[in-house]
Structures are given as C-alpha cells and as structure tokens.
C-alpha cells in the first residue's frame, strides 16, 4: 500500500464524546429533560417579545380569576396575567441559576484543579479547608448577608455561588488527582511536553466530563436555594419576581386561589426535574463504568 492511497482509506474512529452522545440519546428521560430545558431557555430569552401581557399590567376590577381563554394560567389578586408573571419569574430564576452556577464553577474548578495538580501538602491543606467550610451553616450566612446588605441581586449571585463551589472543587480535585497519576500523563511528561500543554491537551479534556455533569446538577441546586430565600422574603425583591417569590404570594392566598400556588410550583418543579434527569443522564453517558450491558 503506497503512502498516497492510505490517507484516503483511513477509517474514522468514534470518539468518547460521540460514544456518550449515542448513550445519551437512548435515555429518554434525559432527552425529555434536555428538550424541556432548551424550550424554557428559549421562552425566557424571548419573553420581552412574546409575553401575552405587560409585566406590570394590572386589572384591579378583575382581581384574581382562574384559568380562562384570555388568561391561560389565570390572574393574581391585582389582575396581573399569571402566564406573563411566570415567564418573567422564570427569566430571573434561570438567570440566577446560570450565573450563580457560573460563579461556583469558576471558583470551584480553579481551586480544585490547583489542589489536585499540585498535590502533597498544599492539597492536604486546601482540602481540609473545604471540609471545614462544608460543615458551616452557609444558609445562615447568606441570610445574614441579605439582611445586612439588603437584597442586592449581584450579592445574591455571589453568595449562592460561594456556597456551591465546594462540591465542584471536590469533584475537580478528585478528577485531576487521578488523572495526574494516569500513565498517559506520565508519558506526556516523559516526552518533555511543557506543563501547559499537558494541562491543555491531556488533563482538561479528560476533566470536562464530570465538570459538565456536576454543572448540570448544580443549577437546580442553586435555583432551589434562590427560591428558598425568595420564599422567605430574603431573596429577590419586588418589583422583580422569581418563581420562589411567586410561590410565596401563592401560599398566602392558597385557600381561595390555589392556581396562584400551583402554576409557579409546577414551573419550578418541572425545571428542576428536567435538569436533574439531564444531569443523571449525562453522568451515566459519560461514565465508562455505568455502561448498562
């Protein structure tokens, strides 16, 4: 076989990512979750243009009405359209979810990667710190922060992110640590490749898997935390609203107007479902051990 023809006949291989995608496609629940998530994101992005009513549009004469043809999800005590309010609330909840997760991701990945790569005493100290922080009552600190500094949206992002980075740090550190000991990383070292190339070509691509999985699972955790705070009145403040705040209002009037509680509740639960199923599906797809043979 001469050199020219062989390049044309080289067979194409299946990378691990493609393999994972194939596995994921077979997981119906995860696909539903993914679809739902995409749908929600699109709706949230387009809300300013596609919401049926104005956000603040009140109709005091109408008051709270159950679902009807004009108002698919009913109206609240001020006559505001619930569908609109839920759409706008979703924007905020999802935004908090993504941004706070990004904060947690940034801090956690860097911290965990450093601890895992440097190893030794530095790692021992860094992880002990994580252990201690894990045990602290962060919920209480956040509430404290919210009380003291007022309900600043930016502060909320950072506060929530600051709580969630611990798990991400642990995951990344574990992965980097086990990778460092892998023989192909040793081989790269033995070939004289620079640290930077080793990190870029060998460590990072093999860390992405667990990071993606846990990011997907952190978002619902974060959204829950925000909803929790908003429910207590310590999170998002009116005139903005989030699903947590809507649920708060809904609880107040739940005997007379149950739909004010149920619809935001369903919205929140469904989103959490979608993200959790997707995260679980990703975990199964990317983990070589959980192949269901």
């Amino acid at each position: 076989m001469d050199a020219n023809s062989s390049t044309l006949t080289a067979e194409k291989g299946t990378s691990l990512w493609e393999d994972a995608w194939i596995k994921l496609r077979k997981n119906r629940l995860a696909l539903i979750g993914l679809g739902l998530l995409v749908f929600l994101c699109v709706i949230s992005l387009l809300t300013p243009w596609i919401a049926p009513y104005g956000y603040e549009e009140q109709n005091l004469l109408m008051g709270a009405t159950p679902p009807s043809a004009e108002h698919w999800l009913g109206t609240d005590v001020f006559g505001r359209d619930m569908l609109t309010r839920i759409m706008w609330g979703g924007r905020v909840s999802l935004m908090v979810g993504f941004i706070a997760t990004a904060v947690a991701l940034a801090i956690g990945v860097i911290y965990g990667a450093v601890a895992g790569y440097v190893g030794g005493r530095v790692d021992a100290v860094m992880m002990r710190l994580v252990d201690i922080l894990y045990a602290l009552p962060f919920m209480i600190f956040i509430i404290l922060l919210m009380v003291v500094f007022g309900r600043n949206l930016l502060l909320l992002f950072f506060a929530i992110g600051a709580v969630e980075w611990l798990t991400m740090a642990r995951i990344v550190r574990g992965q980097v640590m086990s990778l460092r000991k892998q023989e192909f990383v040793e081989a790269a070292h033995s070939l004289g490749l620079s640290q930077w190339i080793i990190i870029r070509r060998h460590i990072i691509p093999n860390t992405l898997g667990p990071v993606i999985v846990y990011t997907t699972l952190t978002i619902p955790s974060v959204m829950l935390l925000e909803a929790f705070l908003s429910f207590l009145g310590l999170g998002i403040q009116p005139p903005q609203s989030s699903w947590g705040l809507l649920i708060n209002y809904g609880v107040e009037t739940m005997e007379e107007y149950p739909w004010l509680l149920i619809f935001p509740g369903i919205a929140l639960s469904l989103t959490l479902f979608a993200l959790n199923f997707l995260g679980d599906g990703l975990r199964d797809a990317l983990d070589p051990r959980t192949a269901k043979d």
């Binding site: 009552p137 509430i143 003291v148 929790f228 649920i247 149950p258 509740g265 199923f277």
Partner: protein
C-alpha cells in the same frame, strides 16, 4: 478514639471563632443598625444595650466584651422584645425545633434508607424505578412547595390533619415532620441506592454468595455496612440543611420554634437575636459534624485501628 475527638474539637474551635467574629463584624457594619445609634430604637432597649455593650467603646473592645459574654453563655438582650434576653428566646424555641428536627431526621433516614436499599436489590426494574422516581419528585419539590400543598390537601380539603401549631392538637406534628423530612429522605434514598449498588458489585459480595449465604444475610450483614457510608457522610450537611429547612416549615405551619424566631429576627432587624442565634446554630452544626465524622471513622475498621493506635 478520645484523642481523635479532642483533636477534631480543637480544630473546631478556631472555626467557631471565625464564625462569631464574622457575624459580629457583619452585624456591626449593617447600615441603620442599632449600633449606629438609630433614634427609632426604644429607650429601654438602648439602655440595655448600652449597659451590656458600652456602645461608645472602640469596636475591638466591644468585640472582646461580646466574646467574653458569649463564652459565658450570655447572648445579650433582645433587640425586638425589650426586657427579654436572647438566651430566653433561644431556649423557649429550642425544644420545639429540636423535636421537629428529630422527627424529620427520623423520617428522612428511615424512609430514605429503606427506599434506597430496596431499589438497589433489583436495579432497573419496577422495584427500582418506583422509589427512585418518588425520590426525584421529593428532590424537585422543595419544602415550601410541598408544605402548602400538603396543607391544602390534608388540612383544608380532606381535613384529616391539623395545619398549625405544635403540640396543641394531637397529630399536628405529622405534616411538619413529613414536609421537612421528605427532601432529605429523597436525597438519602438516592445516596443509599448508589452506595448499595457500588458495594453489591464488589468481589466480596460474590464471595459471600458463593458461600451459600441467603440474600437477606448478604444485604443485611455484608452489604449494608459499606453501602450506607455515603449516607453517614451526608448526615452532617443534612443536619445543617434541616436546621435551615426549619425556617420555612415553622413559618408555614406557624410553629413557635427557633427557626421561625430567626426568620422574624431577620425581618425585624433584631440584631442581637440574629447574632446570638447564628452563633448557637453554628455551634450545634459543628458539634453534629464532629459526631458524624467520628461515626464514619468508627464504622471503618481500618480507620478505627489507625485512630486507636494513636
């Protein structure tokens, strides 16, 4: 073992100090707080605060005084309720919250472990899918959603169970405990299922089977010990979470517990109450984590021996 406990305790003390210090500084830097001489503060309270804290002194002096007080167990006067001390308020709510937390923890552990272990016995069958779907619902339905729904269904429509108060009407502890515990039961169910599946795929389970032991013995004697380790590790964060969750549950069910006091204090800007309760909670959580750490070590024979050898 004792030395190990003491060692961990010593590590916990600086943590506690950090918590107290941070909380103190946060509270003192709050705009419009009592320590910035707000005129809206009632006379009596200002007098009590003055007496206790000497507000004219420099900050670090106030800090040292406060620290001294706290170490003696004195959390100062309540800001919102003149004439009552924070200690009083904490104690009055503590019993209730402790009981609620206990029942919720029992719900979480029993239901969670039983569901998870049962699911792990026949993976990928109905015995697995049903409890795990229920667990997923439990995770995705936060307590502030579940609670009102339960109240709506069982309290208002069906009128089976009471929906407010604690220890007033028989049965009024059921809904709150379930509301608080369900989320954690779900999480524990998933953790125990995962842990059990991991253990059941180990070689030593195959050995136990090859020895002719019954399924009951294999699960109960051989697998559980290793399989429940993730659950034990989770107990510390679970406790902290239950404490936080009590805020919501007590609010929904109108329970006069510590959690509700805390939320109200937060709203009312009762700074001494916030300070005192935060320190108290932090102490509880740290102690609980210490206990669950010790439990984790005790359950692992290798670690147990290492620790004994010290």
């Amino acid at each position: 073992m004792l030395r190990f406990a003491l060692g961990r305790l010593l590590q916990a003390i600086p943590v506690l100090l950090v918590v107290i210090t941070m909380t103190f500084l946060l509270v003192h830097s709050a705009p419009g707080g009592p320590f910035s001489a707000d005129k809206a503060v009632p006379e009596e309270v200002l007098e009590a605060l003055e007496a206790q804290y000497n507000l004219n002194q420099p900050l670090w002096q106030q800090y040292v005084n406060y620290l001294g007080d706290v170490l003696q167990g004195d959390m100062g006067p309540s800001f919102k309720y003149p004439g009552r001390s924070v200690n009083e308020l904490i104690l009055s709510g503590l019993g209730t919250t402790a009981e609620l937390g206990f029942y919720a923890m029992m719900v979480a552990i029993f239901i969670g472990v039983i569901a998870g272990v049962t699911a792990s016995m026949r993976p990928n069958t109905a015995q697995d899918y049903v409890p795990m779907t229920a667990a997923m619902i439990g995770i995705c339905m936060p307590s502030f959603l579940l609670g009102p729904l339960l109240v709506l269904i069982f309290g208002i429509h069906l009128e089976w169970l009471p929906v407010s108060g604690w220890d007033q009407i028989p049965g009024d502890k059921i809904l709150p405990a379930i509301t608080l515990g369900t989320g954690y039961a779900a999480y524990i169910a998933r953790l125990s299922r995962g842990g059990m599946l991991e253990v059941l795929s180990q070689d030593y389970i195959r050995t136990a089977r090859a020895k002719g032991l019954s399924e009951f013995l294999i699960i109960g004697k051989h697998a559980l010990r290793g399989g429940l380790i993730p659950v034990v590790a989770f107990l510390g964060p679970a406790f902290a979470g239950l404490l936080g969750g009590s805020f919501v549950v007590e609010t929904i069910y109108q329970i006069p517990g510590l959690g509700r006091f805390y939320v109200q204090a937060a709203f009312n800007r009762d700074y001494t109450m916030i300070l005192g309760t935060t320190v108290f909670f932090a102490t509880l959580i740290i102690v609980f984590n210490l206990l669950s750490d010790m439990l984790a070590v005790w359950l692992n024979p290798k670690l147990r021996q290492q620790v004994r050898g010290e």
